[in-house]
């Protein structure tokens, strides 16, 4: 079994109003060195297979079809082998 981690990020040139708002807050708190705040999503799940081709395929398809929208988002993923409990 593998544990997968997917990070969904807003694509570079797409407006991120949440990141912008958080950064306004950062400035109010005095974090003057902070810039380009972007807010994305962190998702983790298990894939119940030991076949790496299956594992990669499932993660990519799940992330590409549902967890992210390719018009505005990119995703990165990683996975690690874990013991079945």
């Amino acid at each position: 079994m593998y544990k997968a981690t997917v990070i969904v990020k807003r694509r570079k040139d797409i407006l991120d109003p949440q990141g912008k708002a958080a950064e306004q807050g950062a400035k109010l708190l005095g974090f003057n060195n902070v810039s380009d705040t972007k807010i994305g999503k962190y998702i983790e799940f298990f894939v119940h297979s030991n076949d790496l081709t299956v594992v990669e395929k499932e993660i990519k398809e799940y992330a590409g079809k549902l967890l992210s929208n390719p018009i505005i988002e990119d995703f990165e993923f990683k996975y690690e082998k874990v013991d079945e409990t």
Partner: protein
Amino acid sequence: MKPKFGIVVFPGSNCDHDSFYALNKNLGYETVFLWHKDSGLQNSDVIILPGGFSYGDYLRTGSIARFSPIMNSVIDFAKKGGIIIGICNGFQILLEAGLLPGVMLKNNSLKFICKNVYIKVVNKNTVFTSDIPKDVLELPIAHAEGNYFADEDTIKQLEDNDQIVFQYSSSDGKISGKWNPNGSKLNIAGIVNKKGNILGMMPHPERNCDPLLGNTDGTFIFNSLVSNLITI
């Protein structure tokens, strides 16, 4: 024969009954509810994807509803030229399903906006708009993600193919950033697909159909559609 309307009910839809009331009680059309886990469309001639917060708006608005079992039938229906109207969350679902181009971002104010707006009918060559007797409609919006976005090529295609149907405007039809409530590209409030059988719009026509409420601008869209379907 008058067309039959089918309203899809997702978990979290909350304008399904408003739509039923408007179409059936106010306008007198045969209307049925279609549960999202079913796959049959009960011989509906028009499918309505209503507003609401399907699946709690989790992940992205409309992103999970798009995979409800009934959506396969709705997509087949769309491909055969079937008429579909997605209102608010329904519009977001149509975008996620790829039946209309683009995506919704959070309103640029980050606020949920609930108020009446004016929209200009900029394309009257569609079944949804050809019989609308006015150039500007007053309809309510109620959304946090209505900031329509698409890349430049897609926007150009929308313009070239006359797919932009409604744009946020002043009461006398001026279109500018001043009248844009949410930051949407080109003040877009509603678009159709290239073929013209699928309409997505953020404002709620179903909320302005009862004369008791003092504004019946929403009826023009449904009645235009019905008169076109009857002549077809």
